[in-house]
Point group: C2
Amino acid sequence: MKQYFKVDEWRIIEEGFNPHFNKVAESVFSLGNGRMGGRANFEEAYSGETLQGNYVAGVYYPDKTRVGWWKNGYPEYFAKVLNAANWIGIDISLNGEQLDLAKCKVLNFRRELNMKEGYLKRNFRAVTVSGKEVEVESIRFNSLVDDETGAISYSIRPINFGGYIKLTPFIDGDVVNKDANYDEKFWDEVSKHTWSDGGVLQMRTKKTGFEVATGMKYHISIDGEPEHIEAEPVIREKYIGTEIRMEIKQGQRVTICKYAANLSSQNHPADELMALTQALLDSVCHKGFDTMLAEQAIAWAEKWKQNDIIIEGDAAAQQGIRFNIFQLNQTYTGEDDRLNIGPKGFTGEKYGGSTYWDTEAYCVPFYLATAEQKVSRNLLLYRYKQLGKAIENAKLLGFKDGAALYPMVTMDGTECHNEWEITFEEIHRNGAIAYAIFNYIRYTGDEDYLADYGLEVLIAISRFWSQRVNWSAEREKYVMLGVTGPNEYENNVNNNWYTNTIAVWCLKYTLEVIEKVKASDLTKYSELKYRIDFNEDTETARFKDIISKMYFPYDANLQIYLQQDNYLDKEQTLVKDLPATERPLVQKWSWDRILRSPFIKQADVLQGLYFFEDEYDTDTIRRNYDFYEPRTVHESSLSPCVHSIIAAKLGDIERAYQFYLRTSRLDIDDYNNDTEDGCHITSMAGTWMSVVQGFGGMRVKDGMLSFDPLLPVEWKSLEFQIGFRGTLLSVKVTGEGVSIKNASSQDITVKLHGKDVLIKANAE
Amino acid sequence: MKQYFKVDEWRIIEEGFNPHFNKVAESVFSLGNGRMGGRANFEEAYSGETLQGNYVAGVYYPDKTRVGWWKNGYPEYFAKVLNAANWIGIDISLNGEQLDLAKCKVLNFRRELNMKEGYLKRNFRAVTVSGKEVEVESIRFNSLVDDETGAISYSIRPINFGGYIKLTPFIDGDVVNKDANYDEKFWDEVSKHTWSDGGVLQMRTKKTGFEVATGMKYHISIDGEPEHIEAEPVIREKYIGTEIRMEIKQGQRVTICKYAANLSSQNHPADELMALTQALLDSVCHKGFDTMLAEQAIAWAEKWKQNDIIIEGDAAAQQGIRFNIFQLNQTYTGEDDRLNIGPKGFTGEKYGGSTYWDTEAYCVPFYLATAEQKVSRNLLLYRYKQLGKAIENAKLLGFKDGAALYPMVTMDGTECHNEWEITFEEIHRNGAIAYAIFNYIRYTGDEDYLADYGLEVLIAISRFWSQRVNWSAEREKYVMLGVTGPNEYENNVNNNWYTNTIAVWCLKYTLEVIEKVKASDLTKYSELKYRIDFNEDTETARFKDIISKMYFPYDANLQIYLQQDNYLDKEQTLVKDLPATERPLVQKWSWDRILRSPFIKQADVLQGLYFFEDEYDTDTIRRNYDFYEPRTVHESSLSPCVHSIIAAKLGDIERAYQFYLRTSRLDIDDYNNDTEDGCHITSMAGTWMSVVQGFGGMRVKDGMLSFDPLLPVEWKSLEFQIGFRGTLLSVKVTGEGVSIKNASSQDITVKLHGKDVLIKANAE
């Protein structure tokens, strides 16, 4: 853990130029607007350590699967996030000398991510090798309002010299992916066009054939006065730029405002991209940088109104949670049901695809409470639209009759991960997808969704489970062999309790939804039955048989659920007995040693108890928590949040707070030494859950919100915003008690500490 | 299964030119002499489908490990078999037109591998595109007598034209490995030298720095009369050749005898290689092709005297077993304790390293009975010399205090395999290495080996087992978690019965050998204890505790050993219920489906019952055989032989014969569609075992040979040769009975059908 960035409630601040931390800062300062985003690379050239990254949502490439030993069932290609054209670049030449911070003496360097208003600002002075000193300020943002655009204001002032300065704003499509197999490049040029103050470059991805036009337009001012300067185009393969050469006096400030747009053929006809991009550039350029920036602040204020969490008395915790909320909003806005939430968002290219079970298990609750209903609905529709591919994927593994196995990692519905023990066996992901449907309906009450989409997914998932179990003549029970649970430090185990539990829950919930849909819309139900060839009698009979005869590993002596068969055969050492030098285990121990140890990567039995807490009494939850937590190394970023929520539920507020700290500043403090690859976007939703469900004790039951808040002693107060079925509540917890305000026009009754409380509308 | 080659008792014959089968034929017709070998590539150019392969024993390259997801504990580099300089090449030009069978009409094509005398002969007529017809005969062998050399006699006769013929014998070091990662080349040129009738090229492997000089010398005759013809050298990077141009009349036969030598820096000083190669070439050239070929026949006759198995009444079975014996003798001669038996021998480059547990489990019994004692002793010493690396390997995985884990696949002692479930978990290989020591001592009586080498290996292996088990408080037994047994269609299972059994056996045998060595040579024992820091009291106490408290999965109901914990939770379908279209499973089913199925790749519990048959009564063996065999798909070439031996033991001679057929012609009939990659060398030893131990019923107990023969009804007689402690026995089984002859000068008493029989010396 490093305390590299300054603590501030609304900003992330870097002071001083530290090339060693540059890639970490590039991740943390990333910008995005749901449609496009990228890392905080410098506008000017930089020959030091950097990971260049600009991404366009939904644009991916099917790379060749590369494994040591091929296993039947692996897909031949897998989709990966693509690094796209660099639109931020502005080369600077000072009397013929290139500005490159890796080669300068850098003074007063400061970067600041303003989370309240949604922009990145950078200031520095640099002294070049020949001694020229300049002062630079850049402000950059990806517009929430015009979400296919970004804008940069870049000012440069010679301090100790006058002479020729050349600015070369450019669009560079000749980019690579760091993780490319065989160093392939993924983009071909389609066309390009430049004009006096800008240009557009259109590229096409290989194989997938996505086309993206990336354009720029700029204007120049000197000491605040617009200047028209003749520019000379620079055109290369996959590159357009314009060289702007001017004579500047010492102390004069030259400012370039560069407007950029990224238009994708996913959203526009490919043959109109050039023209549309040029038109959009004209429009935002006409609007101007200052207006765009002001609109950006208003748009972010609107988001914060629904999203903000205010922690008094603990600035580091405050900064942590705001950073998480900010990044989640940058990553996914829910406008487009073809998009999803990659584990790195727009902050890096690692982990290939964009969608893990993280979306359903961690992100859906966040968007349910902090965004319009359509946002989480779109996340559900994303999976609905990929149902056909999930059925294909299950077929590859030998399943039939409409059984679906959603991929472990995906972009477009095809599997992007290739380790047999994960790809083929970490099948509990299917359960999370069903759970998200349940969670969405529970939260929103939107039961129509079930007849239109939800039930079809549920039946396909239940069909999978009903084929995946087998009858054990030995136990006279159904068993589920050869799986990997959420705890990936166990592979290919039998009867993972969590997987068996969520499988049976899926079957039960499917039966329940069948009855619901039959009652509410028999016509739609009949149509669905016909379309998917659902034999209600025999299939539901099988579901019921499995529900009643499923085997769950349990130890009667300890009165705990066993993570899997024979878990107690392991040597029962505890995490506290592990020397610090042996951690993280994944870096210090060989895989077989990890596998046969009792150590748990992330909540597994506890994940199940968290999902289905109403089915277990508090003593049961406590016994399992007391048994498993001391064996958990939390080497997944998704672990501490679940533990925090359960600890809070069990009244152990101090432990809950410790777990919260571990997750909320994970990236700001580069806790796991891997922030340079990008931020842990999906676990940020887990952090939000640990505040709202943990400390806030928020639940939804029988269509009603309930709260059971507890305040860590370190905090003076906690306040969070919750949207629920048309109301917008602000819950404030202090040492004295809890107050709830309702900013909507609709009264609502909630439970507070178990008692009904009416919260009147229009409170301020 | 294809019946492509002709059945003949002593020869493998191919008739007709079939480019589609060329790579299969290249494998089957491979030549080797233990020191060097290669595939049956053509001497003249061939632009059709071919896998070029020439190999020099012990020369390898550490290639980069390439896996999808890196696991801690994988070695960064791994040794692989290297394709070495091509020494067989003779380019032929007919009036300027290159002879290339892929571009000719080919007539009367015939290849014949003469296994009795150890050479490959090829005849054909070819008509070129321009209509020139030639008749060619080539004979080639790798000399057993001069084992760094090979010789070729290549004759060509123009049938319908006269004119200029150009022969270009060459050495080409610019070769690649088909399986190279990143298309790297592995050889650099060191030096080269040509003279009027030959030349030498010296190459060095990258990283490992092995140097190999490959030289050639030739002479030319026309219609049997030696001719001196001026030749012109052709020299390129990594290539030397000489162009020999001559005018030939229609019907004249020109013959080139090309002698080649491969000298390695493993056997000679690197700076003398060029001179030594030239001297060796002079020597064999002076000896002449016909003398060398005659010597070769004598050397092979000597081998056959000790090795041959004669089956009357079943030519296909006869050809099969001779082919297996021939290939085993070509692969390994036991002269050099740095060498071992690769699964493909000199017939292909697949499977990377050279040594698997196949050597100990399958090959040692073959060489014990058919070669001098030093041959199997050298196989044991190979592992002894790699003990340090096995200890290093165990350390990588977290073991300590001198515990050794031998690699799954190796060339020089470092691990060459990188799949966690195999590399880290298929640890039963350690047991096979201990078992080979036991087997060697049992067969030879060479107990001195134990004090000098064996005990040190046994203690290191026992230390590994004693750290690898853990105490299960639940069972109050020692358990072994997270292993892969011989049946690789199960991964990461708990308490594999075979692994637990061989582990406990290792501990017992180590204790027994400690007592033996203490009794026979206390000084050596004390030295060893001191050198390896062996704490006899505490370490043997631990060994004994594990021996007495080890857990073995067993089903009391079925009275069978369970292959692993919870095996009976699987759906108990049988192989006979599998549609043919679903096999082989490894090509038709996804890996998870294979893993959770009951189907067994190769003998697992049965492998243990085979190794330790004396510890189990026949009923126990039969119950387990009856249970497991119907669940076994035999998708490893090492499976049928063990089943054949057990079936024979149980008196089921018909099943034993079926299993035998399946293994003995595996490559000749390209049973598994993979012979083109090379032959299955190590499983050939298993075939031998199924004849001698299966049908012959041969065992060694208390220092005495015993036989319990049974003849398949398809055979008129079976005769095999056995060397045992200075005697050479020939056992002949007919319908009438068994006769044993003793060609040595020493009487011996053996058991025949349980009764002692004296076999007098010097019988013919």
